[in-house]
Amino acid sequence: MSLLITNGLVVDPAQGLEEVLDLLVEDNLVAALKPPGTISREGRQVVEAQGLIVAPGLVDMHVHLREPGEEYKETIETGTLAAARGGFSAVACMPNTRPVNDNAAVTRFILEQASRRGFARVYPVGAISQGLLGEKLSEYGELKDGGCVALSDDGRPVMNAMLMRRALEYARTFDLLVISHTEDLNLRGDGVMHEGEVSVRLGLKGIPAAAEEVMVYRDLALAALTGARLHIAHVSTAGAVELIRRAKAAGLPVSCETAPHYFTLTDMAVCGQAEDALVNPVFDANAKVNPPLRTSRDVAALKEGLRDGTIDAIASDHAPHSVLEKDVEFGAAAFGLIGLETSLGLSLKLVHERVLTLSQLVARMSTQPARILGIPGGTLAPGSPADITLIDLNREWTVDVRTFASKSKNCPFDGWRLRGKAVMTILGGKIVSR
């Protein structure tokens, strides 16, 4: 069956396209992009998209789907439905499941679940080290053949610099991207939030910006040494942005991502969002995330990094946790928050604030993550998979975690008013969310 999307503003940075066009889908692929009214409607399912943005399906290159092992927090089914609701047609899932995705059997299980129950394409990320223990390399060749698109020990850094060097060298053999969780565990200590004015006041142990930055520098040095492709996950500090900016200027094959919470919230969110939160802090466990929410100076630097292209991608680091991990005292709460269903709405604030153009936003949320991972999609060029997201830029809505598809509700944005939303997600020519 064929599908015709009419009169939408097609935004496709890969083709340098931003104009009102009709888009024809045939056989699960984008078949044509033509001026409005020039493609016959006859016998076709028509989606009227006047006033909407027609973007290549969004790609979230950093999520935790929790399956196998922690299905009470999320499953591949609920996680990908959350993705589809949020406008994402593809996600890359991190390997810190139980068992760890450090072998092709787990990779194949994830892909099988995704093909049976998924609402989005799932691209597994394999473990850098066996069991995420930071001691021995995983079988990268097996992982690649099994379907992994990248390697990461996300959730933990590779503390041993020699192992990281070997990982980069070995990954090159199979042309696999290494995604680094940059954090020095010794400097982090038992910190639970950003080290700064707020942590001092709350008597919570701090995680200094330096804990991230020294590791970013180390990994950039190792990328230079090995010539391997490196991607820095969840960049959160001004210093890290500057280090990556310089590395790119020096020609290193490095890319990076940040998450909406890092350019939307500051460490003040731990106190809560009331006006007197600093003196009447609520110690909000949903604002506990690693790396931690930083300062307004870091927020400004992240926005500038997104604007000037230092930061290639926006990824949610969707990290579902149940009330068991979150409805406890702050120090005992798990790190992480969910993001698939708020990522686009929060990122569109950057368009409304004129930090990013529409085209830049689509590049950061679709084109570039697809290119970095080397996966299909990220463009609407004829012949591409018909993964399409329709966005209403001005739709106002209220974040309500009770309506989320995700099994977990650990979201610090509950109750926020946002402007802009995915109104339809199409996966391989099939409408999966509307």
């Binding site: 080290e195 700064g196 004015e197 942590s199 001092v200 006041r201 709350l202 008597g203 919570l204 142990k205 701090g206 007197d276 600093l278 003196v279 009447n280 802090p281 609520v282 110690f283 409805d327 406890v328 005292e329 702050f330 120090g331 005992a332």
Partner: protein
């Protein structure tokens, strides 16, 4: 006038007027403890529960004596004897206690913010008896009461707080309290124990003990937690006591009528020399006595009125 909140979670949320109210109330209640029969019926029929997840003798006992002098019934739950060791969550424990209808829950917990977490969940009042590194409001109140009694005022005083500021909830609460009441607070300690951004709390941060105590009206020595020795905060105990231990020589730099305070328990010969601890400037035992009065005042103000 009454307190605005059903809880006492810290000094930071209090206004100077509220602090004044608690201190005035405490001053008026002190006399009860001097009577032959140290008991008034004010809180008869009220139930006070203490829930302590950290060892404490004096704070818990001080709260208990305060409650009993006001005729409240007290129940004490300490962590080793409770369900916490069986894996029960803090919230479940608190909900179970609340089901027995206490009027106020006094909690000490190793996690900063634990009392705040409970205060949001419980209908009864919550008093913070020390949360992690965050606040210990009744300690600061008793310190302020002690200073006010001896100096007549809190305004315009120089208060030096010395030691491990980073890990001290007593220091945080006192910085908030004394600065709100018009004192100047100067802190000193080894660099490892002075966290960055400390000055944003309103304290002046200096490097040396001598600089901090010069011209001071009040010197408050913090207890050095000896387990910090193994955590890269300190070189040797000897160097700490040489550089940051208070001795008679330092007192000559302070105001003539300086008073020396310590929240206890003391490490004699480490942060304070025995001569200083036992000298006429030492008000350590007055602090303990005022602890009972301040806690009586807090209980009275939180559960003595119609609110309860």
């Amino acid at each position: 006038m009454q307190l605005r909140s059903k809880d006492l979670l810290g000094i930071a949320p209090l206004s100077p007027e509220e602090i004044q109210l608690i201190l005035d109330t405490a001053a008026s209640l002190k006399e009860i403890s001097a009577r032959p029969i140290k008991k008034v019926p004010t809180l008869r029929g009220r139930t006070v529960v203490t829930l302590f997840y950290e060892p404490s003798t004096r704070t818990r006992m001080s709260f208990e004596i305060a409650a009993k002098r006001l005729s409240a019934d007290t129940v004490n739950l300490t962590v080793s004897a409770s369900s916490a060791v069986k894996g029960e969550t803090l919230a479940d424990t608190a909900h179970n206690l609340e089901a027995m209808s206490p009027d106020v829950l006094i909690i000490r917990h190793q996690a900063s913010g634990a009392p705040h977490y409970l205060a949001r969940k419980l209908k009864c009042g919550v008093i913070n008896a020390g949360d992690g590194l965050h606040e210990h409001p009744t300690q600061a109140l008793l310190d302020m009461l002690t200073v006010r009694e001896l100096k007549g005022t809190l305004a315009g005083l120089k208060v030096a707080i010395i030691g491990d500021i980073a890990h001290s909830r007593v220091a945080r609460s006192n910085i908030h309290g004394f600065t709100k009441m018009g004192s100047e607070v100067v802190v000193a300690g080894p660099g490892t124990m002075l966290p960055p951004y400390l000055e944003t709390l309103g304290a002046k941060v200096v490097r040396s003990l001598t600089e901090a105590v010069t011209g001071a009206d009040v010197i408050m020595m913090l207890r050095l937690q000896l387990e910090r020795m193994g955590q890269m905060y300190l070189s040797t105990l000897r160097e700490y006591s040489t550089r940051f231990g208070l001795n008679l020589r330092h007192l000559e730099l302070a105001k003539e009528d300086v008073i020396v305070m310590h929240p206890g328990p003391l490490n004699r010969g480490v942060e304070i020399s025995p001569e200083v601890a036992d000298g006429p400037w030492s008000v350590i035992l007055e602090q303990v006595a005022n602890g009972v009065a301040v806690r009586m005042a807090v209980l009275l103000l939180l559960i003595g009125g119609e609110r309860a």
